[in-house]
Amino acid sequence: MQPPSEHVHWLFATGFLLLGLCLLGEAVVGTEVWRRRAWRAYLWPGLAFALGVLLWPVMTFYTNSAIHMLAHGAWAQVLTLAGAVELALVRGKLESRWWRLAMTAGFLVSGGAFLVHEQNAWLFQRSAFLHHLLGWTLLIGAIFPLARCLRPRSQVVATGFALTFVVISVMLYCDRDVAPIFGHISELAGTPRR
């Protein structure tokens, strides 16, 4: 009953897409309007926290290598922490804007985890390519959560932060276990399923 790994990527892509749209909504209407209803204020931080929690079973059940387990574990920890910190910031339990560095750490560790647990070269096949691309996107995209700490009211930064999640979700949706990349696939990769 365990889903194939590509399905897990697609389910997480769905979560990240919703997260990106919510962040985009907050960027467009402004934080004050977005937080006028309590449930909406907690929506995206809660979603980020839930995605972090859902990475724990991924770590537990997808143990095809030690590096996978370690990468998923580190990832689960930072995303859960980042989600929890954002929840606490909305709730008012935390006040300093520097707590938002937790999300920056989440991006950096997630990007590192993507890169570290992909052992094949960029053009080996689809999932290898996308893991490299996702890793570097997250590492470079960490500039946005970092900028949110420095300029919390900047609409450009908020929009960039939101669109980073949308881009990540697109990449995750494109992730396939065995598929060509730009028409190229290694002979060692196996047979594409569809």
């Binding site: 889903p3 194939p4 697609w10 919703l18 909504g25």
Partner: protein, 94 residues
Amino acid sequence: MNAELVTELEGPLQRATTRARIMSAVGPATAFAGVVWALVQPERITLLHPQGQGFWWLFVEPPLLVIAVGLFFHLFVVPGLLEDLAEEEHATAQ
């Protein structure tokens, strides 16, 4: 007639209308992207050829998930947001 007052209000009102339009377009645009994806890659909709497919292949269909996210955002998040935006607009106008 105080035309100056009207001129002063145009800026924030215009911004609020633009924001409302953007918010109204995000969900449908996302759902439309899912529809286009389904048309371009119909093989990713396993419901169109369900024979011999397992549970996960039938349950997780990426283009349909994109459409679902767009609809969810548009139907459940946007209406309240537009109301609050209109209230803010009203408060600014006063």
